[in-house]
Amino acid sequence: MGLADVIINHIVYKNFKKDIKMTYLDELEEKSIYIIREAYSRFKNIALLWSIGKDSTTLLWLIRKAFFDQIPFPIIHIDTSFKFKEIYEFREQYAKEWNLKLLISKNEKALQEGMCPEKGKFQCCNALKTEVLKNTINEYKFRALLLAIRRDEHGIRAKERYFSPRDIDFKWNYQNQPPELWDLYKSGIEDEQHFRVHPMLHWTELDIWKYIYKEKIPIVSLYFAKNHKRYRSIGCACCCAPVDSNANSIRKIVKELMVTKTAERSGRAQDKEDSYTMQKLRSLGYM
């Protein structure tokens, strides 16, 4: 081969490389869509747990893509009744705009009996989130739930599988998880079990924001700075603290996250009580 051929080959190769290059956000999206479709294909009776935070709203966006905007299953909101008012407003607006089959679940009994964070954060999360989730799954006989947890959020979540089986008592047997190879996800379970499916396990907080920016996904206004404060992670109004920030646009949030040294969930009370609260909560079925 002469020098001219070498040069031509090199140019062809370079253009080809440019042409076939998927950005890494595309790759994250492709993997998530495959998992979402796989969960539906295998289990049919599934649902999304939508907390209305940035992660599960992004997951909802991916689900709309996976099913060409005709989502064939319900979207559950576990409502502790302590959420921010902006969350409720967002829920009403987009449930309508995106034509969602919204299923709102509340632990009315515990609320009547006065359950609140003051009775203990662990007890409150367990009663108003985990318990009500259990009841909803039992009532509708869901075989799998889609959740937007990510490995980079919390060390204990980094141990999760994409398809994670839970037993009848919701227990997560983290000491003996099934192997999970490539994209051959676990497909069968015993009757009384259900699956937690985590299509966004491989995303980071920064990826989420870049993707929100790229796709122009609508997001609750609490994430944007007002009076030098913003929320990085949202949940119940009483258990979330804002962080110091002037980031009032997605671009600025991305910039902020590229240099931050503060953990994403630093404002979340339930992570903090002791080092293993999250492990305990999760082994009992917490999200």
């Binding site: 141990k159 998880q177 192997p179 190879l181």
Partner: protein, 409 residues
């Protein structure tokens, strides 16, 4: 500018320092939230230990108390060059299935050896598994150089032994890096004071020196059907392009049913496209949608691919129940699912020493590997792993629990 991502599995024998190295990488690349280190200090003290960097990766209470990694985990850090996803893996023989779970998600590997202790059972087994999974971008790291006084001679001894073993399984590592994770030597900067004889890069520069694969798609079309949806009165066949390109108007065959049809159009939410390529999950509107079933593979009309019921493979057994010849399993490969038997175990091999234990064997035990002949009940569309990865790898399962993995050779 978007930085690229690279996921790397850290492997090696138990106690050779994998989790400690990961803690060190996080610390040196300034990737830790400020409260994290304080938490680790507190927990280490409560267990009566010095600050244990391994706890940054070992998050389970049981892992910290027992001082060993049980399950695989993934941790993120970035250098100036790129974003890394570090996959930690347990080094105990009992948890090989968790190591394999982590390795199946990696693009590159670090194999870590305690230079004072030398090669151990899991060093060799992990190397073998990485080779089997096609992870050929490998860095070998010699940890605990402080324990041998940073001596070149001892380092070379261990290094040569490992390189020889790797050569036998067809792996040529990109770099051999001596370090001390505990003493922070040669991680983020070269340490000429301790090891003037070492001329290679520090570990972070070695990682940054790895080049990700560029997939050049001159391969034939393989599209795996995942499901069918009815969208606005039309049947949409969804699935993934495993290799090659797919185009509107293309004449295709469905395998193994051998039915002909044509790609009427490609459907992607929110966009209009006429052509796409490997890696994409898309919807297809076929001229005859009734044909498409999950597990079928769409190929170009002129393609000569032939579905098969009998083939040779290399398998790794990870269940404590031995595999027995002629016992039936379910086999999954891409979206294909069939029952099968292992007809013949040609060679039963120790996955650490690579010694052939037995030819024409009757059974295979946990952590053993073998060359086998498989007979499937239904025809499968398969390819060599080196040609189309998704069609060249499979799992063997019973009651939907993965017992073994296989690579088509």
């Amino acid at each position: 500018m978007q930085k690229e991502n690279l996921s790397i599995i850290i492997t090696g024998h138990i106690d050779h320092g994998k989790s400690t190295l990961i803690g060190r990488l996080l610390l040196d690349t300034d990737s830790l939230p400020k409260e994290k280190l304080a938490e680790i200090k507190k927990i280490s003290a409560s267990l009566g230990k010095d600050t244990e960097l391994a706890f940054l990766a070992d998050q389970l209470k049981e892992e910290r108390e027992q001082g060993m990694t049980i399950d695989t985990t993934q941790i993120f850090f970035k250098t100036r060059k790129r974003n890394y996803i570090i996959i930690d893996s347990p080094g105990h023989a009992k948890f090989i299935k968790n190591m394999i779970t982590g390795a199946s998600q990696a693009n590159a590997g670090v194999l870590l050896v305690d230079v004072a202790e030398g090669l151990k059972e899991q060093t060799r087994r992990h190397a073998y598994i990485l080779g089997m999974l096609g992870i050929d971008k490998l860095i070998v790291v010699f940890n605990k150089m402080d324990l041998i006084n940073y001596e070149e001679k001892k380092f070379n001894e261990v290094k040569n032994e490992l390189l020889k073993f790797l050569e036998g399984i067809g792996i040529r590592p990109y770099y051999s890096v001596p370090i001390s994770a505990k003493e922070d030597i040669n991680i983020s900067k070269r340490s000429s004071a301790n090891m003037p004889w070492y001329r290679g890069p520090c570990l972070i520069n070695a990682l940054d020196g790895l080049k990700p694969d560029i997939r050049i798609e001159r391969k034939p079309l393989r599209f795996s059907i995942q499901d069918n949806y009815e969208i606005e009165g039309k049947m949409v066949t969804v699935g993934k392009v495993l290799s090659g390109t797919i185009k509107q108007g293309q004449e295709v065959i469905l395998l193994p049913s051998l039915k002909n049809t044509r790609i009427n159009s490609i459907k992607v939410f929110g966009r209009h496209i006429k052509e796409t390529r490997a890696g994409k999950n898309i919807g297809l509107i076929l001229d005859d949608p009734a044909l498409a079933k999950r597990g079928e593979v769409i190929v170009q009309k002129e393609d000569t691919a032939k579905p098969t019921t009998q083939f040779k493979a290399n398998i790794f057994w990870m269940s404590d129940e031995p595999l027995k010849i002629n016992q039936s399993f379910s086999l999954r490969c891409a979206n294909q699912d069939t029952s099968c038997i292992i007809e013949k175990i040609e060679k039963r091999i120790d996955s650490s020493t690579l010694e052939i234990i037995e030819e024409d064997a009757r059974e295979l035990k946990m952590n053993e590997t073998a060359v086998v002949i498989i007979r499937a009940e239904h025809p499968l569309v398969i390819e060599k792993f080196s040609f189309v990865e998704d069609l060249g790898r499979f799992t063997l399962e019973k009651n939907s629990i993965i017992l073994g993995m296989g690579i088509i050779i």
